[in-house]
Amino acid sequence: MFKHILLPVDGSGLSLQAADIGIELATSLGARVHALHVLPPFPAATYFAAIAEANETMYIERAIAGAERVLAEVRQRAQASGVSSEGSYVIDNRPDCAITVAVGKYQCDLIAMATHGWRGIERLLLGSVTQAVLQAASVPVLVCR
């Protein structure tokens, strides 16, 4: 059955709930998990480049610290369930692309993610990232509410 489950997390409560379901499934299947956090790049404006540059370093530092917090959270949950886990973050302004690339890179055979993350409107719309992943993914996607 599934051997390596990709858990894209944006840090929202829903994404962590989905990660929990992925971890629980991994426990019962004896699978490994890989948590992935995608950071949007700093939207640098072309003018005020010098100011933007200084801010960008700060932004990236903060974003990476945030990413590591989220990934540590997932790692902790996986460890608590005795599931072998890894985690990584990537900087990409198209999370869906980063997720599908990660599937190939880490040879995952299932993606477990929430219906929407921070950006989605509460259940009225399917999150745009989830929808894009559903269309582009080459492996099954477990969509959790």
């Binding site: 059955m1 599934f2 379901i21 629980e24 499934l25 426990t27 019962s28 299947l29 219906t115 259940r123 009225l124 719309l125 399917l126 989830t130 929808q131 559903l134 269309q135 993914a137 080459s138 492996v139 099954p140 996607v141 477990l142 969509v143 959790c144 509410r145």
Partner: protein, 145 residues
């Protein structure tokens, strides 16, 4: 993990492939499966009622026969895997509502379905029924390609 898996099938190859994956997952988890086929009811129009009444019977008979055929196919797959499988078909205009209702009534904790059925354009769009199920479902949905 999952104890009762709902397998909505419209009889298309993709939906049968999804059912197969659901059965495999059920086997690993020790779950039961419930296959559901939703039949679109025959829409009568107000005039030419007598002619239509005759066609409706044929339509319903054909649709029921097709439903039985699809469900038998899923039941065979489940039996081969040594799984307990119940099946049912319902007449409903809105398949996603029938699917969600069945999930609730049968206490399913996972639905496994294809990214699109007969009606969806190959991979270009997410099937409309899947989309609606994802939005309203109270349980996780495993979307297969």
């Amino acid at each position: 993990m999952f104890k009762h898996i709902l397998l909505p099938t419209d009889g298309s190859d993709l939906s049968l492939r999804a059912a197969k994956l659901g059965i495999e997952l059920a086997k690993t988890c020790g779950a039961r499966v419930y296959a559901l086929h939703v039949v679109a009811p025959y829409h009568t129009v107000a005039y030419m009622a007598e002619i239509l009444a005759a066609t409706e019977i044929t339509y319903t008979q054909d649709a029921t026969a097709r439903a039985e055929k699809y469900l038998t196919e899923v039941r065979h797959m489940a039996e081969e895997a040594g799984l307990a499988c119940s099946t049912d078909y319902v007449f409903d205009d809105r398949p996603h509502e029938a699917i969600i209702k069945a999930a609730r009534e049968q206490h399913c904790d996972l639905a496994v379905m294809a990214s699109h059925g007969w009606r969806g354009l190959t991979r270009l769009l997410l099937g409309s029924e899947v989309h609606k199920v994802l939005l309203e479902s109270e349980i996780p949905v495993l979307v297969c390609h």
